[in-house]
Symmetry: C2
Amino acid sequence: MAEAKANKRVNDDLVEALRGIVGDRLSTTDAVLGHHGRDETYHTPHPPDVVVFPEATEEVSRIVSLCAEREIPVIPFGTGTSLEGHVAALNGGVCIDLTRMNEVIRVNAEDMDVTVQAGVTRKQLNKHLRDTGLFFPVDPGADASLGGMTATRASGTTTVRYGAMRENVLALTVVLADGRIIKTSRRARKSAAGYDLTRLFVGSEGTLGVITEVTLRLYGIPEAISAAICPFPDLASAVNTSIRTIQMGVGVARIELMDEVQMEAINKHSNLDYPLQPTLLFEFHGSEAGVVEQAETVQAIAAEFDASEFRWETKTEDRNRLWQARHDAYYACMALRPGAKGFSTDVCVPISRLTECIIETRRDIDETGLMAPIVGHVGDGNFHVIVVMDFENADEVARAKAFNERLVTRALAMDGTCTGEHGIGHGKIEFLTAEHGEAVSVMRALKMAIDPMNIMNPGKIVRL
Amino acid sequence: MAEAKANKRVNDDLVEALRGIVGDRLSTTDAVLGHHGRDETYHTPHPPDVVVFPEATEEVSRIVSLCAEREIPVIPFGTGTSLEGHVAALNGGVCIDLTRMNEVIRVNAEDMDVTVQAGVTRKQLNKHLRDTGLFFPVDPGADASLGGMTATRASGTTTVRYGAMRENVLALTVVLADGRIIKTSRRARKSAAGYDLTRLFVGSEGTLGVITEVTLRLYGIPEAISAAICPFPDLASAVNTSIRTIQMGVGVARIELMDEVQMEAINKHSNLDYPLQPTLLFEFHGSEAGVVEQAETVQAIAAEFDASEFRWETKTEDRNRLWQARHDAYYACMALRPGAKGFSTDVCVPISRLTECIIETRRDIDETGLMAPIVGHVGDGNFHVIVVMDFENADEVARAKAFNERLVTRALAMDGTCTGEHGIGHGKIEFLTAEHGEAVSVMRALKMAIDPMNIMNPGKIVRL
């Protein structure tokens, strides 16, 4: 597929000026540009014209100022693991790769918060925290950067208990479209002081500014953790068990669904022998007694819905293997069909509609004849269909896209959203309008107010 | 004090046009105008020119359209219990009183959410929910409207466990400054679809639009609830107990501080006989076993900090009396000095700094010679000093204002906020700049983008 044309305003002069800021931490080689213009999906790559690797907020500010003077697009880049074309340089421009901004600036153990540079990844942070008794819970599949997770309003398997990035970002340092640096908030746990700029930038996908530092909530590592894997005779029983668990107010830390196709994929990929049935994976956090109490309640609910067994993973290494397998679900799907690429859907619906939504979707997949495992954060009403497909096959592409449109339409009709956690990028711009209607005009007004020249990751979330 | 001059553009013609929308649900009598231009504090009253009482979003839309055509200010009004001059019609205009929009539109028990019209109060909602096993936890002192609580980003005594309005609003219906109606979100528990308009309007204090409907999260009434009252030998011991409790990750539902002055006030006001010492009030929610476990942990912490006793309030009526007394703290303070008015501060700091902040503040109060009890949501790092004073006494006013400025400066130096839950209104506009610096320019840009004519509650949060 054709790559976007380079931005003609990015000339030797600009590259020299950028070099004046970052020295050798700059690249214009095809390999580096190519790497920065694509994500993990089928979206057409759009490489930037130049990639810079700043090490400080001040450098980012100078880079953005330079781009603002020349009206050059700026595309922030974390780990490139987003899924809706977020990093595509649709009109060329300067990619700001934040991976060298990977310092944990300050752990405030007493306040249970931490400030990091945007390039720190979630695994790096948790490794850094390992002697503090604290951890950061939000865990998308990839080992994404915390800046990227903030920018896409990411969530993960623990959101049902600990919330998403929306709930866990306390404050941000942001470089605005004209190079000014702001802090969106202070470290107090709550504030009623003015518009909630923190939440405005959480989920803004680089379109309003470059997030350079993030202050996050941390949590105490629970005294006790236990996990269980629980296969069901059919999808409806598994989903209904998760709905009932939420409605009973059991504070499960994780409640994840995999359908039988997904179980087969992870068995193969991770060399496991779990039953090939729709399965729920649970994790319980709390005191020793609290964890037992939660697990007993859930086990009783599962039994009502004819769960085949409730297999405990008590050893830390078994538990880790279980969740690693879950996090590798996407890659496991890819391995089902060598050479294929993935197309992940991301709808989220009110939990009362979840069973209906998943059952109809499974039927739709089967009728469409796609290879498409289902995996879901069912405690939040969010699930992914990972369509494993050949993007060179026009018929398959057409069928997959039509399937996704039907799925989004189904979720919207149930008062749900087209994206629970992946974001809009440019891949879901049409769906944003279907979902928000007139409210998109307010989003457009916000974008124009904060980035009047439309240089910040242009073409994402809203088109001007 | 002088009242603001009426807006000359509000003429008979406009009143007639408004009557065409709301019929007799409109008033221009002095008593009604006066009531709508003042809040519960010392702020100078600024009555609007006319008050309308719409019953539907569609009516609000038509009212705002009419005002937009004529560039007339629009001031939304809930119960008038805000504390920073939020409802003052600084330039006159049309006050939209939402109290007749008091319908609970839909309880989604299975999804644990509810949609209400903005005028429904928190107590009305909980009364409505009483047979569902669900409740809405956010509880500012007053029985405020849920629209007003959303607009001020309110919180309360249960925020430490259940979060503030920020965490508990799922979606809003908003009438924009030109009369258009938008929905900010759907009912899914999470979404990554575009800018977070919901959080933008939560805390916007009527300056970006009129909130007419609110969708809120609900929670299951816990299986077990217990409360305790725990006096300490000194303030530091009480505050340190609360800090340790939070740091240990005990999921207390409430942890509230009252200093000895406040205890005396509530004893008198509510005819109670609690010890006149700095005191923590606790509430625990959970399973029978879970509540016992939490309470034992907290009791052990309190003992370490020399708590005098740990007095259980096991009966529902004793517990209700306890929390009613807590909610009446402000009124109890007023009763300390007949004819006096209250001036409530509202700083919130990172919890590691809370003891230092409260101790310094108590010393400051004593040195200043003010009558000023302290009451606080100490689990969040938020506390109020309620200065009980005579606003006709210029010296007392000067001392109180100077005290508040020192308190805010102290909190900001500790990375805290000038307002944890009361908002900015026009009373704290100067502090907003001290707190947010350059970021206020972004707030101003947002305001101008969404309300370009500056008709929505002008003069609040930011001045244009």
